[in-house]
């Protein structure tokens, strides 16, 4: 760790335990990871490997049991619930496998949501949301309700929502998992293009074809970071 520039995100010895039914279950075990500005990183692992836990911690939806996680030098562990909400609002854009759009709201209203909680005035929200929808090629769908859109269109709305506040990090959790291969390809193309424009992307997936789009891949099995060779070996 001799870089003279600080990474965007740094996880060091991050461990996460869960209490389920009085039993402590390990989600992550001493994970070290740096993400630099402009990275396109894929986290690969089978289901139950702890990659969702990692995603939740990276997205500030959860805090580590031990170890430290810093975003732009801020230690997340010391933040209150409200400060975490603020951090999610300003620094992180989520893209989920099941899209997670508000079904009865229009595409534009969905994209406006992060701006609403950032305290952006109404007129600016509308303008910024339209801009973000244009980035993903959905200008003509801004007034459609999200449940009137196709899966690929929904995921593009979700990407626009993730981008609208210009976050430091775009976190995509199996973004193509609910899409057919053609629309999945379109979504991946958008993520690649955005990364080319300077957006930092972390992609969580179990699909090696998807992971290959990233510039760097890390592997996670049973809550631990492993090398590619170990990963192949463990998967048999």
């Amino acid at each position: 760790m001799s870089e003279n520039t600080d990474p965007l995100l740094r996880l060091s010895k991050v461990t996460k335990h869960y209490e389920t039914g009085g039993q402590s279950v390990t989600g992550l075990e001493e994970v070290d990871l740096d993400v630099n500005p402009g990275d396109f990183l894929a986290v690969m692992g089978p289901s139950g490997s702890g990659k969702s836990t990692l995603m939740n911690i990276l997205g500030c939806l959860d805090v580590p049991t031990s170890g430290s996680y810093t975003i732009k030098g801020t230690n997340v562990a010391t933040l209150s619930t409200d400060e975490l909400a603020r951090l999610r609002n300003r620094e992180i854009g989520f893209v989920f496998q099941v899209f997670h759009l508000l079904p009865r709201a229009s595409a534009r209203k969905n994209v406006e949501l992060p701006l609403l909680y950032a305290g952006v005035p109404r007129d600016d929200r509308a303008r910024l949301a339209e801009e973000a929808l244009a980035t993903v090629g959905l200008s003509d769908r801004s007034r459609h309700l999200s449940n009137e859109l196709s899966g690929g269109q929904r995921q593009r709305v979700a990407i626009a929502r993730a981008l609208v506040n210009h976050p430091s990090l775009l976190l995509a959790d199996e973004p193509t998992g609910n899409l057919d291969s053609k629309t999945g390809e379109e979504v991946m193309a958008i993520l690649s293009r955005l990364n080319g424009e300077g957006v930092t992307v972390v992609l969580v997936t179990h699909d090696p074809l998807i992971a290959r789009r990233a510039h760097k891949i890390v592997y996670i099995v049973d809550g631990r970071m492993v090398t590619e060779a170990e990963f192949r070996e463990k998967r048999g």
Partner: protein, 401 residues
Amino acid sequence: MNFLEYLSVAFEALRANRLRAALTMLGVVIGVAAVILLVSLGTGTKNYVERQFAGLGSNILIITPGKVETRGGPPMVGPARHKLTMSDSNILQKKGYLFGGVAPVVFGSAEVRLSGRTRNVSVLGVTPAFSEVRNLRVEIGAFLTEADVEAKRRVCVIGRTVRKELFGNANALGQIVKLNGARFRVVGIMENKGVSLGVDIDDIVFVPVRTAQDLFDLDSLFEILISVRNMNDIESGKAMAKSIMFHAHNRHEDFTVTDQRAILSSLFTILDTLTYVLGGIAGISLLVGGIGIMNIMLVTVKERTNEIGIRKAVGARNIDILLQFLFEATTLSAAGGLIGLVVGAAGAGALRWAFPKMPIEVPLWAVLLSFTFSLFVGIFFGVYPARKAAAMNPIEALRYE
């Protein structure tokens, strides 16, 4: 986020579920409308009674036989050792220098007959003082005189209704009518007074007090009315009447002195209490409406768990979620309250139109109070579901389908 933005989020959510929102509001609508209607009815009744009493004069003391407490505790009616008599009345007249008039009253009912026509009427045995004490005047002829009383003359003064029923348009003055078979000459006809407290003043026959005692075979009085000359002396007048009566009755307090105000104020206390009880019962339905809101909000929060997760993921703080659902609940109750106000006021108007005699007055305080109460009901019953929503873990909320 400012107030208006929370409000617009609340409106959007309610619009998405119009029927449910309308049904939930209905509870509050009915509650507020019921409060307004019932309180209006109570207030109208009180004002009606107040107007009825207004002409009666508030400087009047009433002495009745027996000891009765008009206020507080169960009424204690002891046996009257002495009845009220004409001599009591005379002593009061002689010694009571604060008194304007002392009017002994005998009360009974009799059948009045004129050549085949009969009518059952109330008969009051009175002295000339009665006319001035009760502020009742003769229109035609003259009222009873002192001489009529002393000589136990069989003369009477009749009310307008009695006159109309017996004589029609014919002249009544100087005519002979039969009261329980005894012949009485009509010497006067009272002026029109109308109905007061459900008693038709015009349907009464007045006879001299001693004549009435003979007629009903009584040696006592029903009551003694006293007018106090100066309004400010009403309390000392009361004390004076008590002291005179106390000595006249060999130091026994076997009578009761009440003033009109005491009767009025105890009546008003009853009417006020009635109004509050009615309003309170209606208020309970408002409370039930509030529970309906809480119920629906709990369902809503559960249903929208995923939405809460999404909002939290994109940066909503706990307070944002709390306020969002609190605004929704309060919007429901406030809108219900407003509609309830309109329904209640319209209902009061409709009742007045349908039954013009029904005393209904919508008091402003009831309008303000019931609306404010409905608002607080929404806040009170909205807090628990809203807190539940705010406390959700975003990861679990996102996972919820």
